[in-house]
């Protein structure tokens, strides 16, 4: 199993249902800066016409996760399905992982005095087959699934649609697949020129190979 998420980010209306569902589901610490999940906002204008792009985001559960590599106490670790987790009892709050993460997906939970982050709702996968953020979303931005399962809705979707990653240049092999919009205008204004566009056939061998290398660390949860 190799859990990942596809995001049809152009559906997002920034209603923040995902942020609240995440907090309620996972008992995340209260506070505006204590978010396991968020919506990135950029603004601009083309010929005087304003636009806003929304990039819903969370931990990328990178296959080659620098946060796991950098952790001196193995508090940051992988579990089954390649989900990156933090064991709060081992965390010494050195915050190395927070520095290492290219996505700023980690924060300090003061109630447990440890670093906290998205868990892809691993505790509810068996029962619900998906995360709280996907389930609650009014416009259905996210689709959670298993990259190893060719018949999963996720892989079926990724075979149909092109996608890109945020900060691919960090070479961490992130697993949030941002679906390329069909609309050219929206594509032009929301995807940078340097951003690489990928297809499933081309990315699958790369991700498979990387997984083979690192999945020895994936413990059964």
């Amino acid at each position: 199993m190799n859990y990942a998420m596809a995001l049809d980010y152009q559906n997002c209306i920034n209603c923040k249902a995902c942020e609240v569902a995440c907090k309620e589901e996972n008992g995340v610490q209260l506070g505006a800066d204590k978010q396991r999940i968020w919506v990135g906002v950029t603004e601009g204008s083309v010929f005087g016409n304003p636009f806003v792009n929304l990039y819903p985001s969370q931990c990328n559960h990178c296959i080659d996760a620098p946060c796991v590599s950098v952790c001196p106490t193995h508090a940051s670790h992988y579990i089954d399905g390649g989900i990156v987790m933090v064991n709060p009892t081992k965390c010494i709050l050195c915050k190395g992982c927070m520095e290492a993460c290219p996505y700023d997906a980690r924060f300090v939970d003061d109630t447990i005095v440890a670093v906290d982050k998205c868990t892809l709702c691993h505790h509810r996968i068996d029962e619900y087959g998906t995360t709280a953020c996907q389930a609650t979303c009014p416009t259905k931005v996210r689709l959670f699934g298993d990259l190893d399962d060719e018949n999963s809705d996720l892989v079926k979707l990724l075979k149909k649609r092109k996608f890109f990653f945020l900060k691919e240049g960090e070479k961490t092999l992130p697993k949030l697949f941002y679906l390329v919009p069909e609309d050219e205008n929206f594509l032009l204004r929301s995807v940078g020129k340097e951003t690489k566009i990928h297809t499933w056939d081309e990315i699958k061998p790369i991700y498979d190979e990387a997984k083979a290398k690192r999945s020895k660390e994936w413990k059964k949860s």
Partner: protein
């Protein structure tokens, strides 16, 4: 124009927010033990399907309950209206339930009105207090029941409260939010195309959304349908709004318009469509009444795009292009009706003009246009209403041309505040509304409340209005009660049930029980009063020797409305039509519609099919004749009774699209949408018009104490145009 704030920028300025709310709560789930070690699988013991009430939509939810504590609210995928979602407010419903500031016990005022001093009372004490005042007032007013006014906010249990006050207690002075919310849109559409309907955003190809903000003022199923189809995916979206909203960021064309000039914009669209013969001639021929008069009116008034450009600030080319594109995509084109529509005095005519423009394309009662759908019938609960000879009609009946059964808040308030009523208004009941904040002119509302001998507030949370009450009765939240069963009509109709998730906390009760308790203490003393002053009753009683029998048979026994529990009532309303098996299914699943087990399909975790395409009700035969009753039941803000009342009153005689309403003219209102330059107030140079809008994180002021929502949006920002702000040296985040 400033558009919210990015996450990064937000984080910089928000360190202080980490202690948001200031309570001692560390984690979000109040009684959470979610920090248990990772290997303890969290398994809730019970899942209860119910309905959200954090706003008007009534999304279906499934509550997870463990050890009597609600741990999580999940979306229920079975309801076609809410399509498996809960928004931020819905998710945060737990914090409405476990809000430490909730009203917990009945309170009786111990200080002056408005100073917030109350003492805790028992329910008996609170009821006796109300009884004594009511008996005295009704004695002094000689059994004129209408001397007690009452208002309510929208909600599943609003009918219980309203029906008791209107049908049993017998007062005609009911007011709700409609007159300061969507009344003009409902009246405008009902009198023009026969109903308000709903826009089929699942199929429309071209949508003009003017002053409506479906990304932030979430409405089901519109919000979910629309934003999966914008950006080149089937629906072209034109957003007309002075503010660059989250809906505008999805628009193909964003049209900033001068505040209050929408009518000129629509009239110019109509002009282009008529002048260039772009409209659906076959549809107009068949379904319009008095089209030629309207055509002449539009052309002769010279509502050209150039004329509108000067008023609206929207270029003539843009107007022309929108009119052409709209008609090219018709009938799958919609000029979106809008909801919170009471903006200016021209608003009723604006909604009429919108409806006629939409109809010119033929997009009425058709897939992709404005549809009416059907609803699943429920049996009715009969109320034995007494007739009080001395109860008078509502005070503000003549304040406007159209005053429906929900009244006019502003006219009513002003008349009471100014002591300008045909008979004295002595008391006021408030259920789940906060007129001190929601009705314009707080000072005047305060003045009105100060005049009254008795103010009773029923609510879940303290509010500015509760502070003006003599007695505060605490209602439980939506998660602690069963409410009247509800049928939601539409293209994909369904019946849903709000079930009790946990027992009411503290000493709170559902409004059903509150009104029942009130009925029990009031019924006998008020009957004595009726006998004393009601001449009809007196003369009847001369012939009827058995007074008790007369009292019961004629509905004077106020408690007979509450003979059975809400649960039994719901069952009675449902089982006659659908049977016992369907009833147990409904209780288990929270949602019912015929053939649900066959029709409902999960396509993937995001996509569900509720009805096969050929079973969806896009079109109803002979729309205008049949649409009177059932088809409007898709919304708790829209009262089907009121629409049929309206249509009866104004006798839309042709049963067609009404271009010309002669009946209105008799009341001094334009029979056709007309731009009245004299009633439009130009914005003086250097000044602004203040307009309001919605955020997806709050529902007016009802959610303003919600600790979870407050951290999403701590402050309600005022928006100002970038350049204007620069001129005045106003920076982002400044206090103004």
């Amino acid at each position: 124009m400033k558009v919210e704030i990015s996450r990064r920028r937000f984080l910089q300025g928000s360190v202080a927010l980490s202690v948001v709310g200031g309570t001692a709560l560390g984690t979000t789930n109040i009684l959470a033990d979610t920090k248990e070690s990772e290997d303890v699988k969290i398994r809730p013991t019970k899942k209860v399907p119910s309905l959200c009430e954090m706003c008007v939509n009534k999304c279906a939810l499934i509550a997870q309950v463990r050890n009597g504590v609600v741990k999580k609210l999940d979306p229920n995928p079975l309801f076609p209206k809410s399509k498996n979602m809960l928004c931020a407010r819905g998710d945060a419903g737990i914090h409405a339930l476990y809000d430490p500031d909730r009203l917990k016990y009945p309170l009786i005022r111990s200080g002056k009105r408005g100073d917030g001093k109350y003492r805790r009372a028992t329910w008996d004490e609170a009821y006796s207090f109300i009884k004594e005042k009511m008996v005295k007032i009704l004695d002094e007013e000689k059994d004129n029941r209408s001397c007690i006014g009452y208002c309510a906010g929208e909600g599943m249990a609003e009918p219980t409260y309203k029906e008791f006050m209107a049908e049993k207690f017998g007062s005609s002075n009911f007011i709700n939010h409609a007159s300061i919310c969507l009344q003009t849109a409902i009246s405008g559409y009902a009198l023009t195309i026969g109903g308000y309907g709903s826009a089929d955003l699942d199929n429309a190809k071209y949508i003009i959304m003017a002053g409506a903000n479906r990304a932030e003022a979430i409405l089901t199923p519109d919000t979910m349908n629309l934003f999966k189809r914008t950006r080149g995916r089937g629906a072209k979206l034109v957003v007309v709004d002075p503010r660059f909203t989250n809906t505008a960021i999805h628009a193909d064309t964003y049209v900033p318009i001068k505040v209050g000039t929408d009518l000129a914009f629509v009239l110019a669209l109509t002009y282009v469509a008529i002048k260039n013969r772009l409209y659906n001639r076959e549809f107009v021929e068949k379904n319009f009444d008095n089209f030629n008069i309207y055509k002449m009116h539009i052309l002769e008034s010279n509502y050209t795009p150039q004329w509108a450009e000067k008023i609206t600030g929207v270029s003539a080319e843009t107007i022309e292009k929108i009119a052409y594109d709209f008609m090219a995509n018709a009938p799958e084109s919609v000029y979106y009706q809008g909801r919170r529509s009471t903006w200016t005095s021209s608003d009723f005519q604006l909604r009429r003009a919108q409806a006629i423009f939409s109809a010119l394309g033929g997009g009425i009662d058709i897939k992709g246009g404005i549809v009416f759908g059907k609803s699943l019938p429920l049996d009715k609960e009969e109320i034995n209403s007494p007739i009080y000879a001395n109860a008078q009609e509502r005070i503000e009946k003549k304040a406007a041309a159209i005053i429906g059964s929900t009244g006019s808040w502003i006219a009513w308030r002003n008349m009471v505040a100014e002591g300008n009523t045909p008979y004295p208004i002595r008391g006021f009941f408030v259920y789940k509304q906060n007129p001190m904040l929601s009705v314009p002119n707080t000072k005047k509302t305060k003045q009105m409340l100060e005049k009254l001998d008795l103010v009773v507030v029923i609510d879940t949370m303290p509010s500015d209005t509760a502070m003006m009450a003599d007695v505060i009765l605490p209602e439980c939240t939506y998660l602690e009660k069963e409410d009247p069963i509800r049928s939601f009509g539409g293209v994909e109709p369904a019946i849903v049930l709000r079930q009790k998730v946990i027992e009411p906390m503290y000493e709170t009760k559902p409004v059903f029980d509150i009104m029942k308790g009130l009925a029990e203490v009031l019924t006998k003393p008020l009957w004595e009063n009726t006998k004393k002053y009601d001449e009809d009753v007196q003369s009847d009683l001369k012939d009827e020797k058995d007074e008790q029998k007369y009292y019961k048979e004629n509905g004077f026994d106020l408690t007979d409305m509450f003979g059975t529990s809400q649960e039994e009532m719901n069952k009675k309303m449902f089982v006659g039509k659908y049977g016992e098996k369907a009833w147990s299914d409904l209780r288990a699943k929270g949602v019912f519609y015929p053939n649900m087990d066959k029709y409902f399909k999960k396509i993937d975790n995001n996509t569900f099919e509720y009805y096969p395409e050929n079973k969806k009700t896009y079109q109803i035969d002979k729309l205008l004749e049949k649409a009177d009753k059932d088809a409007y039941l898709h919304d708790t803000c829209i009262n089907p009774k009121e629409i049929s009342e309206l249509r009866k009153f104004f006798k839309t005689p042709s049963k067609k699209i009404e271009c010309y309403l002669g009946n209105l003219k008799k009341k001094g209102i334009d029979a056709m949408p007309t731009w009245r330059a004299e009633s439009y107030v130009e914005i003086p140079k250097g000044k602004f018009k203040f307009i309001t809008g919605r955020h997806a994180q709050f529902t007016q002021d009802a959610t303003q104490n919600n600790i979870m929502l407050l951290e999403l949006m701590k402050e309600n920002y005022a928006w100002i145009n970038d350049k204007e702000a620069q001129k005045r040296g106003i920076e982002f985040g400044d206090e103004i």
